[in-house]
Amino acid sequence: MSQNEQAREFPVETDFQRKAGRPGGVTRRQAVGRARAQIDTLKSEFTDWLNEELNRLQAAIQMVETYPKNKTLLDDAFRSSCQLRDVGTTMGYELVTFVAGSLCEVLDATRDGAGYDKELIDCHLDSLQLARQDSYRNVKPEQVPELCNGLRQAAERSISLAGSAQK
């Protein structure tokens, strides 16, 4: 019997699908508006979280510099950077997401053998310190092209080196 004939297709109706259409739900407009209001209540805590997460990232990067061959430490720094990237835009700090996203790519390239580029990573950390300031809230990456293009080009160079190292 071929693999194709062994495939069985069957309908599944989960509770989620059955119950999500019940009366009493919210429209998209209501839901999005209420969710935004809920997020607004978190904004005061966000600054504290952002500062803590940046401190954690800097400490993780310092550990990577102290023990450059320890992959777990590099993973910690990568994860910390990812957390900043994943939350920034949602909370109105698009620049934080941009810089942290670029740093994620640089750290990922480092894991892939690009070599540890201290200057480039420090540059990202400095940019994050800038991006976290209140005055940069709601600033889009395209509004600060010198910063963003510079980081982008340097990050791409690092990624390209990792690509060469893998070949």
């Binding site: 297709e9 599944v12 989960t14 989620f16 999500a20 259409g21 209420r34 997020i39 990237r85 994943d86």
Partner: protein, 193 residues
């Protein structure tokens, strides 16, 4: 099927993400959508524990969930014949929107992928899509999960064709990342056959 409202009340939602703040953010959005039973897991081990202990109505899972990753967790849920949550809808949250990652999520058995950073509207739309566009499940030797046959993709590796399917080419890997619309297209269940 078109629905103008989404009712998440009393549905048990598990948000699995290593970041406590991300979990809090996702829970806030879900509360805004009317959900009142959301819980968190920080690792795939915690998530598996919760999934074996109780019925979950939908899982929102980070693709990098430590230690195994969200896609491995998805595969583990789908492959375990004894898991009462085997067919639970799974929404993968990821910042890695390379086409290969999205395809891997789909091939692991995810129902849909939402790009991080998430907005309330992007999350609401994906939840609605899962709720109101049910897909058949496929049980094959190399795959268990929602039907992966798509108009723009051809046939995923390992599934093979079934009667009534038309032959089209699987697209080549292009571009470094996908926008949310492109991700949605990969999960769009427009059937060819």
């Amino acid at each position: 099927m078109k629905n103008s409202t989404l009712n998440l009340r009393d549905l048990v939602i598990l948000v699995a993400d290593p970041s406590p703040y991300m979990c809090m953010l996702a829970n806030s959005m879900l509360r805004g959508f009317g959900a009142n039973k959301a819980m968190d897991a920080r690792s795939s081990i915690d998530a598996i524990q919760i999934l074996t202990e109780q019925k979950i109505d939908i899982l929102l899972c980070d693709s990098l969930l430590p230690p195994h990753g969200g896609l491995k967790l998805t595969q583990a849920i789908r492959r375990n014949v004894n898991n009462p949550n085997r067919t639970v809808p799974i929404l993968i949250m990821t910042s890695d929107t390379r086409e290969s990652t999205i395809k891997n999520a789909r091939d692991a058995g995810a129902n849909m992928v939402v790009a991080k950073p998430m907005s309330p509207s992007s999350l609401y739309d994906r939840l609605s899509w899962i709720a109101f566009n049910p897909r058949n499940f496929v049980d094959a030797p190399s795959y268990f999960g929602p039907d992966r046959r798509f108009k723009i993709e051809g046939f995923p590796t390992g599934v093979g064709r079934r009667q009534g399917d038309k032959a089209i080419d699987v697209s080549e890997e292009t571009g470094p990342t996908l926008a949310q619309d492109d991700i949605d297209n990969l999960f769009n269940s427009s059937r060819v056959g």
